[in-house]
Symmetry: C2
Subunit: 308 residues, 2 copies
């Protein structure tokens, strides 16, 4: 039940009201892998420059991440520098240097081609399509995207959508893609263009799963301390796909559970800079938090006739 | 188990992308009463001018609203005129004419003074306090407020908080009141200043109940058509308090159920202009929607040992 992610491997420099970090592990593939590996081994395909701190990448291997698909190219690694507002509600990109990522052409190693669960991180939809051409017959493919591709490569993105099972986007992306500001109409539009499931991530408010089977809502885990929101969406995807791969179950009930795992892992991601929170995280901590979600939404209606 | 509301009775002129209405029934007491009365009879205290369309007010009586506390004063009724943005996310107040509401001094009729459940709509906290001085021994008092009072009458508002059981505010108000942008820390701050329960309303994202017993999250009901968001918060309060009064149960389990009734009634409010949606709403429709919330958040975790 192998789980494959293709995405960016970056060095992030982030300023928050609580401190800053420089050249820390980042990128969609890194957040996804460190989160997902808590639930199921993850195979990573990506590229780093010759300046990437390989010792830190290799720490990921100890957590169940297979780095055989990470190639090292001559040049600089992908670097992102950003700054959050005092309330973490807004962030400003101070600098993006693509480096070797500009020429990234994912090559899936032979031993990864039978991957059953595939997550296409937010990269050029042409590259996302090329990944699908290289995998045999995945059970479930999920992808992310962003405003840049929705605007600039719309046709390719629409072709990609026809080949994926789950689209994970935030609400602004769902609106931009569909041209509809109502999230539920936007999700329905997306369902009509390929995916069987749409996950709309709403940050601190949680996430919504929309499919032909109905709508499922998972709140964000209530945190009194949020340290760094970077990577929360990819950590969500890691928890979501990690649960599906671990159980090899793509029924609606399983997708709902996967949403809860996604929200739980997203909440861990924001508790520290970079992927630091995942370094020491235990399966027991994950289980505890996942179970806490049940209490967060639990209510019992009165039998008909008693009260209103 | 009488349920009392004190608040504004207004004539609203609202422009949305879908149409506009002029001098329609509005105000916190009206939205609260029309919503709450679906669950339990509501007693209203408020003031209208001599231009208020009394026939329309009296239609409320047919729905279980006791208008004995509504006084008619010489002068103009409270009028509010507002305009929503294309996506209903923002609204602009075009005009506010307080009219007779400027001199409103709530007088609770003798037959209302034994009210067990009291909702203090968003009016001057001095008036909210004066209401509490006129009621005998309510089981549960809830109140709303707004930025204007938080800034301008903070001391009185803090005195009020010490005497209420539930504060219902939106997230911006919770932040302003506590001085903390984190919603859960803000709620904890509020709990330290009087109320036993804080309800943070988050509009299209739902609402959160915070108390010493934990945190409960209810989503907003997913709607593909939102017509007019005006009054959603007061309709939420009507459903919330209506359920508590109908069951005369203020346990945590009941408060959680009340949140679901609140969210359901808020979702009805936005489906039409003014309180029109409540005119024909049946208890069966309410029950159906409330039960739909259970499916919206339902998930079953796997027994330990099966999967992740």
């Amino acid at each position: 039940m192998s789980l494959l992610v293709v995405g960016s491997i970056a060095l992030d420099s982030v300023q928050t009201p609580f401190g800053s970090t420089a050249d820390a592990l980042g990128g969609s593939a890194v957040f996804f892998a460190m989160s997902g590996a808590l639930l199921h081994p993850v195979q990573v395909v990506g590229v780093v420059g010759d300046d990437y701190p390989m010792d830190r990448l290799e720490r990921m291997a100890k957590r169940g991440v297979d780095l055989a698909g990470v190639s090292r190219a001559q040049g600089e690694s992908f670097r992102w520098k950003g700054k959050y507002s005092y309330d973490l509600q807004n962030r400003e990109t101070l600098e993006t240097r693509l480096g070797v990522f500009a020429d990234f052409a994912p090559r899936i190693p032979p031993q990864f081609r039978d991957a059953r669960y595939v997550f296409l991180g937010n990269i050029d939809p042409e590259l996302q399509l090329s990944v699908l051409d290289q995998v045999d017959e995945p059970t479930l493919v999920a992808c992310d995207t962003m405003n840049y591709w929705i605007q600039g490569k719309r046709d390719v993105l629409m072709e990609l959508l026809r080949r994926v099972d789950v689209l994970l986007v935030n609400d602004a992306e769902a609106r931009q893609l569909s041209g509809d500001w109502n999230i539920f109409r936007a999700a329905r539009w997306i369902l009509q263009h390929g995916p069987r499931f749409v996950v709309v991530k709403q940050g601190e408010y949680g996430a919504v799963l929309v499919s032909g089977d109905g709508i499922f809502y998972v709140p964000a885990f209530p945190l009194e301390q949020v340290f760094d929101p970077t990577g929360a969406g990819d950590a969500f995807a890691g928890g979501f796909m990690g649960h599906l791969a671990a159980t090899d179950d793509t029924t609606s009930a399983s997708l709902r559970r996967a949403m809860v795992y996604g929200s739980a892992m997203g909440s861990f991601a924001v508790e520290q800079f970079s992927v630091l929170r995942f370094d020491e995280l235990t399966p027991d901590e994950v289980r505890l938090r996942v179970h806490a979600f049940a209490d967060l939404v639990r209510f019992d209606l009165l039998p008909v006739g008693e009260g209103a």
